[in-house]
Symmetry: C2
Subunit: 191 residues, 2 copies
DNA sequence: CTTAAGTTGAACATTGGTGTTCGACTTAAG
DNA sequence: CTTAAGTCGAACACCAATGTTCAACTTAAG
């Protein structure tokens, strides 16, 4: 898609990608990262950074968009509509906990720095997949119905985040994260 | 305790208290709050603020100390050593979720702004109460032993935090928080 | 009532981040 | 090889936050 408008040089394309990569890491593991730091991490001059992303705000939005898109892809690949809701949730956790956590952190940051914009709407598209899955589970009778749906979604995201933090802090092996998550989440969500 | 050293005027005492109160609120619900904002919130001039707390760092430490002490008190009142571990955990949740969450937020902030100092040690004193409780539960056979202890503690704090956020966002009534927490945590922790 | 302790706003220096402009240099693309 | 697109460092203006100093004012305490 889109080498249409003002076809960029391969050069520029490469830098933009490097910047988005660096910015994703920077924003997720050190939210207050400066533009200088991001430029350095991307191996790019400050001016180049501003050439492509005229402001911190624009950059954050770009990273967010990209991550939302990626999250959408990953979720789709986990086929949340197939099989029992529990199985689908297990698949989703295995394939997506990391991406979903990135998405969470970026959204927190965006909400703080940009104010709750229409980002909330784009955010919805991702959260709704989880919510839809849980609702289906309730209809199937395998997910508890005695707590607000909103809280169940929060619980999922919250533990996802906790696991990611533990992995990041070296207190949990990345390969074990999905197992631990599953072992904790399922008893909390099952009816 | 301690009107010994350089006995302060009632005046000053009152302001210090007001500052600590305002700073606690500011730091927990808007971590990047400026000194100006805190001074205004405390109803005090900027100079007065600096007179009592020579730097943002010192102020943060003072607030942290105070909250750790308060958390210690509240935990002690919940008598974590009495009755079955499950009952003790329930008592702890009912009386302390809010204070424990304040403690968590401040610790996160301190870790970011001050670097992991010997604060980690003081932090331990609070976390250890929860860990001790869970360990006792394991010995009694009522808390699961198939996951790292560290993760169980993280789970407690994580959901505590999630509930506090939901309350703060108006999506969960404060009076319901303990019930919801209990209903989610116990199935996740029980063996 | 006296006075020492405490408060205050205004003004200042400093720092660190943001965003811009410029002119020289490098590189992809035809 | 030519040239337009892209990069780069240096220098700039700007802003917001931190922390300090001062001189006038207010207030608690004896």
């Amino acid at each position: 898609m889109a080498t249409t408008e003002t076809r960029r040089r391969a050069d520029a394309e490469r830098n933009i990608a490097a910047i988005l990569d660096a910015a994703l890491v920077a924003f997720t593991e050190e939210p207050q990262s400066s533009m200088v730091a991001i430029a350095r991490a991307a191996g790019v001059g400050r001016v180049t950074l501003y050439a492509h992303f005229p402001s911190r705000e624009v950059l954050l939005e770009a990273v967010l968009d990209r991550t939302i898109a990626e999250a959408g892809e990953v979720i789709k690949k986990a086929e949340p509509e197939e099989g029992s809701a529990i199985e689908a949730l297990q698949r989703l956790l295995r394939t997506s906990w990391h991406v979903l956590d990135q998405h969470r952190k970026l959204f927190d940051l965006a909400q703080r720095e940009l104010g709750s914009v229409q980002l909330r709407q784009r955010h919805r598209q991702v959260v709704d997949h989880v919510e839809g899955l849980l609702t289906r589970g309730q209809e199937e009778g395998v997910i508890r119905s005695d707590l607000p749906m909103n809280w169940l979604v929060t619980t999922v995201y919250s533990l996802l985040h906790a696991a990611a933090e533990d992995v990041n802090a070296g207190q949990l092996k990345a390969e074990d994260a999905a197992d631990v998550l599953e072992a904790t989440l399922l008893p909390a969500l099952k009816s």
